[in-house]
């Protein structure tokens, strides 16, 4: 087993170590840091907009780049949180609380270093986690049958609701709408066209690109256009202040360890991910640490080290359900899944056996990428801080060009742009009605899969829905789902969840 893992990792490093792959890992990390630093734009719209670029690359290279963007954003996000008191990324929201206070005390450098080093450590552990947990989980997943897969998706979608902001009821409905949208087009089984309204563009289903770019890219632009220009004046930092003191290290290291462990676990859970992990880590730090040198909210270094380690390790381990079960655990993973499917790869337990270079190459690239990110983020911090002064008015023309070119170039059809506008309008309306649009992508990606597995289960059981409770794996998954539902409905949990999102 151990020997095997070594062998596998070697395969991975050989695959990820090519000049092209290292180059694109670098590009991914740079783009990720950039969007992490800039408050106006997050990883979901960025990944959506860059999807068309990946078509020309081979599957491993494109996944390496996209993964780099996701975890690169976790590094970059902390910079803005600490220096400007504005989250560069939603997973760095809690880092603002103590990070900015540290910066005001003149310890910005230490906060940045602790965030970057903690993230690096967490990233390494997360990578080992994937290497260790991936194969057993994948071989376990080979025991899965249609009813088990159906229940797994139910669990994944319900858990994703916890992550969505605002009303649970609305989040569930938005996912259901996503499922429905995923069914548009020609039904594979009967050949009947569904909900195409006679429009030929829809015969193959709603295209993934106009949907995600419209709902996230364009909506993001509109939101930024309607806002007032915000002054963002970073606190000046000198390079020589970067190294934390011994006392600071002593407080930060245990916090980073706790954050890493928590983040790795929360990343694997369906519905988990970087955002959830950072909130949870901050709550844990507040509970666990008895006598911090500086109180929480007044610049406690634990409040930076814990959440920053947690969000990065979760960003890595959230790949586990996607790569081993074919289940995207959050909207970002849904976009990754879309990218894989466009490349002709069906994510799931088969990837590891049929395409080991892809799995292990991605794992190895994450380690390489994390190393790059420490270098990108610490010595070059001054450059990123300068970028903060770039006004949004110079940024959004580039973003809107990217959106349009990306959607048009995927199949040179002008009607796709109309589709993009329609989805932008839809996403915007959802947002204004207090519904988070992101979970819809999860439903959209899983719609056809869920229907297929439901259909097969029902054929197996001759129409008896009890099959979902008779099979042990499926029953366990549904029991877990019931627990999650109970948790959401429970008033005390609800209160903490709302509080967590308020902060």
């Amino acid at each position: 087993m151990d020997m095997n893992m070594f062998q596998n990792l070697l395969t991975g490093f050989v695959a990820a170590g090519t000049l092209q792959n290292v180059g694109f890992a670098m590009i991914g990390c740079l783009v990720g840091t950039l969007i992490g630093v800039l408050p106006g734009i997050g990883p979901i719209p960025t990944l959506a907009m860059l999807l068309p670029i990946t078509f020309g690359l081979d599957p491993l290279t494109s996944l390496i780049m996209m993964a780099g963007i996701y975890y690169g954003a976790q590094y970059g996000g902390s910079t803005t949180s600490i220096l400007v008191n504005m989250p560069g990324e939603s997973s760095s929201v809690v880092t603002c609380i103590d990070g900015y206070q540290m910066a005001r005390r003149g310890r910005a450098g230490a906060a940045l270093a602790v965030a970057a080093l903690g993230s690096f450590f967490a990233g390494c552990v997360g990578t080992v986690f994937i290497a260790g947990f991936g194969p057993p989980l994948a071989s376990f997943a080979q025991k899965f049958n249609s009813p088990d897969y159906f229940s797994l998706m139910v669990l994944g979608l319900v858990t994703a609701v916890i992550l969505a902001q605002g009303s649970v009821l609305k989040a569930i409905t938005v996912i259901l709408i996503g499922l429905l949208f995923g069914l548009v087009g020609t039904d594979v089984n009967s050949g009947a066209t569904r909900y195409t309204f006679g429009i030929s563009t829809l015969w193959d289903g709603i295209d993934f690109l106009p949907l995600v770019i419209g709902m996230f890219g364009l909506v993001e632009i509109i939101r930024n256009l309607e806002g007032d220009t915000i002054e963002r004046e970073p606190i000046p930092t000198k390079m020589k202040d970067l190294w934390p003191t011994r006392a600071e290290f002593k407080e930060a290291i245990p916090a980073a360890l706790r954050g890493t462990a928590l983040g790795s676990l929360l990343g694997i859970l369906p519905g988990g991910g970087a955002v959830l992990a950072s909130f949870a880590a901050y709550t844990v730090e507040k509970k666990v640490v008895r006598n911090p040198t500086f109180a929480f909210g007044k610049g406690a270094i634990q409040g930076v080290a814990g959440p920053e380690a947690a969000n990065n390790s979760a960003a890595q381990t959230s790949f586990i359900p996607l790569l081993t079960l074919g289940l995207p655990s959050n909207p970002i993973m849904a976009i990754m899944m879309g990218a894989m499917m466009i490349q002709g790869i069906q994510p799931g337990s088969a990837v590891m056996t049929s395409n080991p270079e892809l799995f292990w190459g991605l794992v190895a690239s994450m380690w390489i990428g994390n190393l790059m990110l420490v270098i990108i983020n610490l010595p070059l911090i001054g450059m990123w801080v300068k970028l903060l002064q770039v006004p949004y008015s110079l940024l959004y023309p580039a973003i809107i060009m990217f959106c349009c070119i990306g959607v048009y170039s995927s199949n040179s059809e002008p009607s796709q742009l109309l589709l993009m506008v329609i989805f932008a309008a839809f996403g915007y309306i959802l947002m204004r009605f207090g519904c988070e649009p992101a979970p819809m992508v999860l439903g959209f990606i899983l719609g056809p899969l869920m229907e297929e597995n439901l259909r097969r289960s029902m054929v197996l059981s001759r129409g008896d829905p009890m099959i979902f409770l008779q099979r042990p794996i499926s029953a366990t998954l549904l029991a877990l789902t019931a627990c999650v539902v109970a948790l959401i409905v429970l008033p005390s949990f609800r209160a903490t969840r709302e509080e967590a999102f308020k902060e």
């Binding site: 429905l180 069914l183 509109i222 023309p397 002008p414 309306i429 959802l430 204004r432 009605f433 439901l454």
Partner: protein, 168 residues
């Protein structure tokens, strides 16, 4: 007398019910089948009913629970962004990529009142050529352009100069 306590829930409820109705109405023509052999209409019809039910609960909630108001929807940026994108889509095959991109930015920029129009246009022109370089020359995507062939030729020339200098 019913009073709307949370306008957001009212909007969401109506939207959900609308989507559910559309799903049920247009799913009517699809074969429903039965549980043991599901037709193409089975799953979508179920989904639509559930979505409509959820919409109903939302509606009920909007009269009983207090909630935040719907924020003012500023039409100007929305319309400008959409108009720019649609103009781009409609015109790209007629006027090709570079002018279409400049036009896109020119229209979308109207969404903000405080932008410097001249500077923005200059920026748009530069970025249009940069896009041709990235997407058409480097990534090899097929799009109608004016400058693509020239830029490709220049790029190949530069590349061969560079590699021969390296070889020497």
């Amino acid at each position: 007398m019913l009073r709307v306590k949370s306008p957001q829930d009212l909007g969401a409820g109506l939207l959900f019910i609308f989507i559910g109705l559309v799903g049920i109405y247009f799913g009517k023509d699809l074969t429903y089948g039965s549980a043991r052999s599901m037709g193409p209409g089975y799953f979508p019809t179920w989904l639509s009913w559930i979505i409509m039910g959820m919409g109903g609960i939302c509606l009920f909630k909007c009269f009983t629970l207090d909630g935040p108001p719907i924020e003012r929807i500023p039409l100007r940026p929305i319309l400008c962004v959409f108009a720019g994108v649609l103009a781009f889509g409609y015109l790209i095959e007629h006027i090709r990529l570079e002018p279409a991109l400049v036009l896109l930015v020119a229209i979308a920029t109207q969404g903000r009142s405080d932008t410097n129009q001249k500077k923005m246009l200059l920026l748009a022109v530069c970025m249009a050529f940069a896009s041709v370089l990235i997407f058409v020359v480097l990534l090899g995507q097929a799009m109608p352009t004016w400058s693509g062939d020239y830029l490709s030729a220049a790029f190949t020339k530069l590349w061969s100069l560079f590699s021969s200098a390296k070889g020497a």
